[in-house]
Symmetry: C2
Subunit: 111 residues, 2 copies
DNA sequence: GTGGGTACTTACCTCGATGTCAGTGGGGGC
DNA sequence: GCCCCCACTGACATCGAGGTAAGTACCCAC
């Protein structure tokens, strides 16, 4: 866990979200449980190292659940925890706001 | 404005929020319009340089409004725009989630 | 036996956001 | 005269998140 103590709830929430790819990871896991490789393909641009790193942090914060099957070709599945699901729902309005902003920017771009 | 193109709305929203002090600035401006010095005192830890910087970025993104009065001791007032207010409302659920997390962490801390 | 896929780890490097500190040009208080 | 307050600006330093590239160990397909 990050800095602490937090000034307010927003501060505490942003701390969990903080990381270049975390919201995209959470977003990807919203729809389905994913294997490591799938996740990497769903979050274009992440490197394996950083993906692992951020997944570990999200796991430590109780947002994602990691389940590894001890099979011959290794298999690991990631999914959102209950807490992660709540976080995802809390991010909904923010995503909607951002969507409107994207639309506005596109509009302005076309002129 | 940041990177672009955005993968999703959440991505676009986080881009605006991105900056060590921005959510705290928005949070502070939620309740009242503020002068520069007031803002600095309300966001403990920011330096003048960075506060100025982040205010400029928020202004460029249409989140805050800057109004300077050409008086003998300079006076500048910052406030949220309509868009900024919408963003602030969109951040509400996230703040609430973070508040619950803070409570949970405090609980765990006490044992 | 060469190459690809699984899920990582490790050492090293880069670069930009942030911090530090000093300067600006007045005004007012003591 | 000296210092603080206002709202900044600019040069310089730091530091850590993230990127790069290679290695691991094992299996399967061709």
């Amino acid at each position: 866990m990050g800095k602490q103590p937090y000034v307010c709830g927003l501060d505490a929430a942003v701390d969990v979200i903080d990381g270049k790819w975390k919201v995209l990871i959470i977003w990807a896991l919203n729809h389905q449980r994913c294997r490591f490789g799938e996740l990497r393909r769903m979050v274009p641009g992440v490197t394996e190292k950083v993906l692992t790193q951020q997944l570990r942090e999200l796991e430590a914060d109780g947002i994602v659940h990691r389940e590894s099957y001890d099979t011959k070709p290794p298999k690991v599945e990631y999914s959102l925890t209950e807490l992660g699901d709540e976080l995802n729902r809390a991010l909904g309005p923010l995503g909607a706001w951002g969507k409107r902003r994207m639309a506005a920017l596109a509009e302005a771009g076309r002129g």
